[in-house]
């Protein structure tokens, strides 16, 4: 399965020149009722958060607290009903890999480049180089159904990186994987981000994932979501899961979630 876990080397350097910031001020979002007679759903109410360029911020919260809505606002897929969203162009990576089943790994990774008008050969060359860095050498032509779950997420992450966006929105990216693969992928992502820094908003319900990966962890309240606690993870990388400081922070975050 995971033959080697490596961080990327061939990421376009121009992206790293200026990373984008994200700033949400007093944002609220309400969705109209799905059925007649049902109440409209307030997903977010008065949420504020700021992510510095190059910072990795994890947002944890119970199911249905508006985490996905938050990312869709950052990615400009939704507009807020109130407040302001100020974000550099962002790329979204979801829990489901959303790879196109008819394309091989290289063409899937190159999708954003192709959308941007990069010529096929050039896009493929860039994608193939990144896939090699991601330990997927030899799988360039494999279709998604021929890849394991961890491999598919790595292809999806390559596609997200190659979109050239300096802000990455990760929506529970590893939630669909088994526990062991998930831990491997978290370590792998930490390594990948160390070598290709990005501004990251990571949404998850896995507190450990948040603590291991992020510079700062925000705890969201149940719907309507608002930030109830902010924890700075002041632990140098690479981090060990068993680090006493991380374990203590995880306990604190869990307490905040239960509060």
């Amino acid at each position: 399965m995971l033959t080697r876990i490596m961080a990327p080397e061939g990421v376009p350097p121009e992206v790293e020149a200026e990373l984008g910031a994200v700033s949400l001020r007093d944002v609220s979002k309400t969705f109209p009722a799905r059925r007649r007679g049902a109440a409209p759903v307030t997903a977010l109410d008065g949420l504020s958060l700021a992510v510095q360029p190059g910072e990795i911020v994890a947002v944890v919260g119970p199911s249905g607290c508006g985490k996905t809505t938050l990312l869709e606002l950052v990615c400009k897929l939704e507009t807020p009903d109130g407040g302001t969203v100020d974000a550099a162009p962002a790329a979204l990576m979801a829990q489901r890999d959303l790879l196109l089943p008819w394309l091989g790994a290289v063409d899937n990774a190159a999708l954003a480049l192709r959308v941007a008008g990069v010529r096929r050969e050039e896009a493929r060359a860039q994608a193939a180089a990144l896939l090699r860095d991601f330990g997927l050498e030899g799988f360039e032509r494999a279709r998604p159904y021929e890849l394991s779950g961890g491999m598919r997420q790595r292809v999806a992450f390559a596609r997200t990186l190659l979109s050239g966006r300096t802000v990455l929105c990760l929506d529970e990216p590893f939630a669909a994987l088994d526990a062991l693969t998930r831990q491997e992928m978290q370590d792998w992502l930490a390594g990948a981000l160390a070598l290709a820094p990005r501004t990251v908003v990571l949404v998850t319900h896995d507190v450990e994932e948040a603590i291991v990966l992020a510079d700062r962890v925000l705890v969201l309240s149940p719907r309507p979501g608002r930030v109830t606690a902010a924890l700075d993870v002041d632990v140098p990388r690479p981090r060990a899961r068993t680090d006493a400081r991380l374990v203590a922070l995880r306990e604190r975050a869990l307490q905040e979630l239960r509060a």
């Binding site: 400009k76 162009p89 979204l92 489901r96 196109l100 089943p101 008819w102 959308v115 159904y145 979109s163």
Partner: protein
Amino acid sequence: MTAALLLLALLGGWEAYADLSGIETFVLPAPSAIATALFDDRVLLWSNFTVTAGEIALGMLLAIALGLACAVAMYFSPALRRALYPLLIGSQTIPIVLVAPLLVAWWGFGLAPKLAIVALVCFFPIVVPTLDALDRVDADLRKLMRTFGASRWQTFRMVEAPAALPGVLTGAKLSVAIAAIAATLAELSGSESGLGNLLLKAIPNFETPRAFAAVIILSAFAAALFGLLAFAERRLLPWANQPRGTAP
């Protein structure tokens, strides 16, 4: 294998019954008589077959082109879909047996009425699975394309059109068999050649073995077209029948 044995048994029983019961050949020809007709009339059958095969192939191409255009238009315009879908269903209830002679009266004994009938019959089974496949395209995929800054056309070309291909092929496979029936029916209503035309002449002349031979050729052609489409599906769309997430 089992199918071949069953077929052999049926043919054997048929042959025995036709030979031993003393039934007239023009009422029920024995398989051997049909085989003889297939061989003896091969030039006549072939020249008529090429006419009918052309009508089926062209008619289906026309149906696929119109069906795709219609499905895509209805996919993009809900208003058009509401307006057009009832009409499409209505078009399928038109009794072809009544329309075919009318078309011949309007357009003559040539290719046009045959193409119209084949296309009319094959059109609907292509529209429905194609439109369904388009409707099933993951909404999150469209969102993903939007975050990449894709235009509506890019999303259609890169995501929706490939995703609809299995639906198109399913529709084409459904259409093949009825296309043969439609072409024959169109020829029965007025024609100068074709396997349907041959049937029209053979039956009143008590040349029943020749008529059976014509039907066998028609079935074989439809089966071959179906096989061709199934082969194309396996080769071009190997991903379409893969359950997701089963790789090691």
